[in-house]
Subunit: 254 residues, 2 copies
DNA sequence: ACTTGTGAAACTTTTCACAGCT
DNA sequence: AGCTGTGAAAAGTTTCACAAGT
């Protein structure tokens, strides 16, 4: 078959779908919990339930990594934990800097799950000179002036931006110029980055607005469609079926 | 599809794709900025650049809302702001409760962007009796015992969970039982909810792990395939994931 | 028996490219 | 001449269903 790629042997075909990559951390978390309970093997059905997806999807996802299961038996928990960790790059240590130590930045610095798996807060950076030297989560805050030096000294390639929106692009540019190639952005703004730099964003108001959209739709339905309590599905957010029109009271925003 | 629904004239065909819904807040933010600068109209090209998407996608997205543009001219900024706000349900006020007032919960409570657009923090709830009565962001923290009463008194339908992972499911169950139908979950755990309840999650470690995956891949390439610095593109976060998981809110530090 | 791994079908989202209106 | 709105193609993702192993 022509077009492109000479197919790898068979084991691993470069290019795991992005949707799959986004779920690997979920599987890993569920597997880690099983591992802590010393569960030796798990079926796709059980693991899928724990991760909140369906089993066909999970098996398909795993098939992109290779054939790590045993038919008739399931998956070896420890082995899968290792394989997924490796695939995600968690077998190495990633130094991370957090820029913007306000309420959120401090909360992130204190977040335990940070260190737990592959990530280490290498430095906290803030533009306020009054903060310099103060320890947050046991780490002294450093001034923005030293950003480039800090990045280089620590070999940081992942940066977290928790500054106000107005400062985010500027901080981003400096991080990138200093060598950071992955950014997690908490500031409510769109960041421009050169090709080759990854940005992921975390935005409270966007999430709330998406919820409001669905909430409004539910309200429009009013008439409970049976009210029959179906057994709870696992962590599913559906987008309700087509609701009739939604007449909306208007309050015209400012 | 399915049972023919002839309901509305023709203007609006119920059922906006989820991917489109997830981008509406982005467009709204960009439009609001234009509005504040008193820009009267904007082309799909300009607006797309500001929102970090491409113009074909933006036009397609808007086409699901209706025909709000003018060929040869562009879109009326004020009009679009209103239409999108209405579509998202932001023309009404959504009371929100935050459960779990630790570092993160407090940061969220202090987040300005919260109140700014359609959302109002109706109450803060925490399980620690020592916190009861203490004001955070000017709002007194209430005890979990009163959760049901608080939800009902305030007509809350959106809840934010910022508790430790271990408490999240329990809090979630109580919120749902009390009438909450949309949940924004910051706890690193999968929540089970009945059908009809929407859950969106915001998970720092998942986001970092996704970045680590791509970061590792970049490192593996090593041999820069040209190394030539291509001109920067506009804010593309690769992997536009999608789905219910993913991004989240940003707490603007004070 | 039981459970994985996977082609193929179904569905969703993005992109293309141009007709149609201003 | 310029820009929107949209069918149609392409790409990506999920689900189905069952053959292939253990």
């Amino acid at each position: 078959m022509a077009t492109g790629r000479t197919h790898r042997p068979a084991t691993r075909s470069r290019g795991i779908p992005e949707a799959t990559v986004a779920r690997l951390p979920l599987y890993l978390r569920a597997l880690t919990a099983l591992s802590e309970r010393s569960v030796p093997t798990v079926s796709s059905e059980e693991l899928a339930a724990a991760a909140g997806v369906n089993s066909a999807k999970l098996r398909k996802d795993f098939s992109y990594l290779g054939s790590y299961g045993t038919r008739g038996v399931g998956y070896d928990v420890e082995y899968l934990v290792y394989q997924i960790s490796r695939e995600l790059g968690l077998t190495q240590d990633w130094p991370v800097v957090i820029v913007g130590i306000g309420n959120l930045g401090a909360a992130l610095a204190n977040y335990g799950g940070f260190a737990s798996r592959g990530f280490r807060v290498a430095a906290l950076i803030d533009a306020d000179p009054a903060m310099a030297g103060k320890p947050v989560a046991g780490i002294p805050v450093q001034h923005t002036d030293d950003l480039e030096k800090i990045i280089k000294t620590n070999g940081v390639s992942i940066g977290v931006i928790a500054t106000p929106a107005g400062a985010a692009q500027q901080v981003c540019d400096r991080l990138v110029a200093a060598g950071v190639t992955s950014i997690l952005n908490f500031a409510p703004t769109v960041l421009s980055v050169p090709d080759g730099v990854d940005v992921r964003k975390v935005d409270l108001s966007i999430e709330l607005q998406i919820l409001a959209f669905h909430e409004q739709r539910k309200a429009g339905e009013e008439t409970a469609p049976g009210e029959g309590a179906l057994p709870a599905a696992t962590a599913r957010d559906d987008s309700a079926d087509q609701g009739p029109d939604g007449d909306v009271p208007a309050v015209m925003p400012a």
